[in-house]
């Protein structure tokens, strides 16, 4: 089961984090086999929001939502279940100053593929 762990925190709290700790954890979680992908993000001032309305692209400065807690990075992990995902998330260093949102991955490709196969297959016997 895949989960995306989104790392949130206020800018000031996150500024206090030591990058070396984060990288050390990243190496550890990669070695454990739990981590599928992970990145840290540039500060929120560098964010650009893109929308398409009536076929027109609109570009604005800043993040989509104005919140005190900003998205600072992510880990895509593989875990047996939510309990294991929570254990992994609890060890992500910024969990101590910010918060980690753990979101299960929706198997969108599998769902679409299964629906397509069902449509293409001949009518069932019963």
């Amino acid at each position: 089961m895949k989960y995306l762990c989104l790392v949130y925190g206020t800018e000031s709290a996150l500024a206090g984090m030591d990058d070396r700790h984060c990288v050390a954890y990243d190496e550890k979680i990669k070695a454990s086999g739990h981590c599928l992908a992970s990145e840290a993000l540039q500060p929120v001032q560098t964010a650009t929001t893109v929308r398409v309305r009536n076929g027109k692209v609109s570009v604005t400065d800043g993040p989509f939502a104005e919140t005190k807690e900003i998205l600072a990075g992510f880990y895509m992990i593989e875990a047996r279940d939510l309990n294991e995902a929570i254990q992994v998330a609890a060890k992500i260093p910024p969990a101590e100053v910010g918060s980690i949102e753990v979101r299960p991955i929706r198997p969108i490709r599998e769902t679409v593929k299964a629906a397509r196969e069902l449509r293409e297959s001949p009518e069932p016997a019963r």
Partner: protein, 418 residues
């Protein structure tokens, strides 16, 4: 076959189905969730199993082990249904799924574990507290959605939605159906106890509205507490059970027939239920003896000291203050501090209690808590400081939501000359 259509036998069989439903349906359900991996599929399988029992037991006789029969029938029906629905399952998938039921001995332990699994899953901290409560009452206690909605003064569709959402999260976020491993058990047990106590309190002192108590919920919480102690005899689980029993023992004494609140001091102690007190005290002593007890056990121990006293004057206030001291050390909170201050007021006189309460109120922690102002008012009244007492009763009244409590405060106001 002798007397297959014999009516006394059919009647007995129907009674056996009813009895099995009352005694076993939640156990069977808990096992089916493990075997089938899904709450809704298990629920349907449970109903199919009982429907089959109603048809087959009158004809074929009541099986030697009704529970095992219901589990295997429920599982068979569910597998059959799944096989008919999906043509994509490989034969191997199906065979793994349809693995034989383990030997009876192993199964017995598994079934007890299944009920614990069910409790821990329904009380998973990733579910919102109100969803935990609803799910526990629905799945562990087997209450109907309408019953739960009624008890919580919530519209039934809202409550049903809450349950559907919680089950959706269990499935989509993959909350595992397991008893947490030893390293996490204490923390997770705390969550289970909190949920059970929430149910109890909703039944004991309704958070709003006219009804002072909704006894059924409290009894359901006690039943849950007993089940938990039976399945997992941890000291704090015993402590919570004891606390609920001791509070419940005073139910008949804590309100007048008209629903007016009677404070502990003024309760007719002859109305306290002795059997609940005896059981509660036994549980507290057991929990205390473990030396691994926590806040629930200490609160129960305090309730036990009250329960043992023949009158308010005969209460061992020194013991109560001492227990509050230990409780504060373990689980500091302004509300516990307030209760300790009241106990000090009983032990050392109202002036001593008032000094402590004023310190707490000055910190601002409990400024919005009606019981802090009511306690202050009471101590002022005892000291003959009528004007101050009235001001504090007024503050408490402005903050209280619960009608019987408001009536009590108005009565006190009327009795207190300025």
């Amino acid at each position: 076959m002798i007397g297959a259509m014999d009516s006394p036998r059919a009647d007995d069989a129907r009674k056996a189905v009813d009895a099995a439903y009352r005694a076993e349906s939640r156990r069977v359900f808990a096992t089916l969730v493990r075997l089938l991996g899904d709450f809704d599929v298990a629920e349907e399988a449970l109903h199919d199993a009982f429907r089959a029992a109603l048809e087959q037991w009158p004809v074929e006789g009541v099986p030697a082990n009704p529970r095992a029969w219901l589990v295997s029938t429920g599982r068979f029906k569910a597998i059959d249904g799944i096989r008919r629905q999906s043509r994509f399952d490989s034969v191997e998938d199906f065979e793994t799924f349809a693995e034989e039921i383990p030997a009876e001995e192993a199964e017995r332990e598994e079934i007890e574990d299944d009920r614990l699994r069910l409790i821990f899953t329904c009380c998973h901290p990733a579910l919102a507290p109100d969803a935990q409560v609803a799910l526990t009452l629905r799945e562990v206690c087997g209450l109907r959605t309408e019953e739960i909605a009624h008890a919580f003064l919530t519209p039934a569709p809202t409550l049903a939605q809450r349950i559907v959402r919680a089950k959706g999260k269990i499935k989509d976020a993959k909350i595992p159906y397991e008893v947490p491993e030893a390293s996490q058990r204490a923390e997770r047990l705390e969550g289970v106890l909190r949920t059970i106590y929430l149910v109890f309190n909703e039944g004991y002192s309704a958070s709003s509205g006219e009804a002072l108590t909704r006894a059924d919920l409290s009894l359901e919480a006690i039943r849950l507490g007993r089940l938990l102690v039976e399945l997992l005899p941890e000291p704090e689980a015993m402590g919570l059970l004891a606390l609920m029993l001791l509070q419940e023992s005073r139910r008949a004494a804590r309100a007048t027939a008209a629903g007016d609140l009677i404070v502990l001091e003024e309760q007719d102690r002859a109305l306290w239920k002795r059997d609940l007190i005896v059981e509660g005290i036994a549980r507290v002593e057991e929990a205390l003896a473990s030396r691994r007890f926590g806040p629930y056990t200490l609160q129960a121990a305090i309730a036990a000291v009250h329960a043992e006293a023949a009158s308010p004057q005969a209460t061992d206030w020194n013991e109560i203050v001492g227990l509050y001291d230990v409780l504060l050390g373990l689980d500091p909170s302004p509300v516990v501090e307030l209760n300790r201050a009241v106990a000090v007021g009983m032990r050392d006189g109202p002036a001593a209690g008032l000094r402590l309460i004023d310190v707490i109120l000055a910190r601002g922690d409990l400024a919005g808590y009606h019981l802090a102002h009511a306690a202050r008012a009471d101590l002022c009244r005892r000291l003959g400081r009528g004007k101050e007492a009235r001001a504090s009763y007024e503050k408490a009244l402005a903050l209280s939501q619960q009608e019987p409590e408001r009536r009590f405060l108005r009565r006190r106001l009327a009795e207190t000359p300025a």
